[in-house]
Symmetry: C2
Subunit: 273 residues, 2 copies
């Protein structure tokens, strides 16, 4: 999925950032991953809105709409399929130490990667990660730069042979994938775990919940265990790059049906956004 | 505490790092903060040993002893008092995504800051942070780059008017300060919270536990609550830069005695390390 890259730092083409950026020191920032299809950044408004909400929660004073100009630069010469990775950090110092300086000058880093999308229509294989994710309501839902849990889960031996690893909380509730949100369908009802304690409030997760409502498919947040996935009629994962991705297997357990997943996948793919 | 800075990236003087460093993307790395006194990096072996242990736990293949040459460069022209900040990240890509690439080329960033040490002999004022830290045994103890919890605690309104904020777990047990470990003394016995679920295994914390044993002071890990601090004969915090720092207040509660804290402070300060 990686390919040639172009990067803009604070709107200027370049590949280097100061070593004292708080994003590097502390993971003090947020990011977005946006699919660019035929030069159009998909769901841009939703991505910027989520970023804006995250900036407020972290107390980083930055107007996310400033990024529209950067995004315009980045998509101007984009190949037919690309991914934008947008990082906004609290910027550099001026003081060393955890306390945010005031005023701070946030730093924005926009990178465009060429990408291809893997064939997933016949379903993908998921596994359950061994790592349990911690609960932190103050950070839950945010796509922040503290992602060591995701790294550790993706470093587990089984990860490379599966499409995605799903993470559980200490109590065993599913939280989501390392790079995706997870959904299960039971009797026509779509459920995805809440993100109030852990996990990321994915933009595609929000799109799916909204589009289910428009399509007359019952969909809601709710607790899901591994057993719930194994008992599900369908399981799918979502992220901004891949859209809706049906699962045909969770660990050793085959997932039988994929009607709603496929319908949602096609529907979201066809949205003019 | 911040001042003029000099930085070496992979042993070469410079201030810039590639924007795709996994330390920035994910906080995928570790750091050390080392006091340099009269050109000597204090407790260097203990810092490198802790870093090495952390690198193993994160699966970052890097020989921490490589840093000795960088440290030698950094201390060569150090002022009488300086702080070294050493960061080791898993490096850049080559692939985008959480899974660590193999082979990876870790990146090391060594910065030297001029510093001064605040007067603390008469005791400092601590507060209890509102933020509760999450439990994550897979990362607990490590001085990793996922430090948003520390940033949020240090951003709380009361932090700026106190020397340090102490953090509790969800269950109310004390974990440590944003930039320190915490100790309490009850009836001559020294206690500091375990770091198996959360917190950082500070090098100075380890020095104090070891030196207590040498001095015949009973010292052990143990659960501590805010009530335990308020009932304590003494409270002190530790970090590599400040050494042992006695507290004279925790929130509204005055801390009465500081004999053991003062003794430990002087003892550690006098160590030829």
């Amino acid at each position: 999925m990686n390919g040639p890259r172009a990067t803009w730092i604070d709107g200027v083409a370049g590949e280097l950032v100061p070593a004292d950026d708080r994003g590097l020191y502390y993971g003090d920032g947020l990011f977005e991953t946006i699919l660019v299809r035929a030069g159009k950044p998909r769901f841009l408004q939703a991505h910027l809105a989520r970023l804006d909400g995250g900036l407020r929660r972290l107390g980083i004073g930055f107007d996310a709409s400033t990024l529209r100009a950067d995004v315009a630069l980045a998509v101007a010469e984009a190949p037919p399929l690309a991914v934008l990775k947008i990082i906004v950090t609290r910027g550099s110092g001026p003081t060393r130490g955890y306390a945010p300086s005031s005023p701070a000058t946030p730093r924005r880093i926009v990178s465009r990667f060429d990408t291809t999308l893997p064939p997933v229509d016949s379903g993908v294989e998921l596994r359950i990660a061994n790592l349990r994710v911690g609960a932190q309501p103050a950070l839950a839902g945010l796509k922040h730069l503290n992602r060591l849990e995701n790294v550790l889960a993706a470093a587990e031996p089984g990860h490379a042979t599966h499409f995605e690893s799903l993470l559980r909380s200490a109590s065993g509730d599913l939280v989501g994938g390392t790079m995706s949100n997870v959904f299960a369908v039971h009797g026509g009802r779509v459920t995805t775990p809440p993100v109030a304690e852990a996990g990321v409030a994915g933009v595609m997760r929000g799109v799916v919940l909204r589009e289910c409502a428009r399509l007359g498919i019952a969909a809601a947040e709710g607790r899901l265990t591994v057993a719930d996935l194994q008992a599900a009629d369908e399981v799918f994962i979502t992220n901004a790059r891949l859209g809706v991705v049906p699962a045909r297997r969770v660990g050793e357990h085959a997932i039988p049906m994929r009607e709603i997943s496929s319908r949602l996948r096609s529907h979201v793919e066809a949205l003019d956004a």
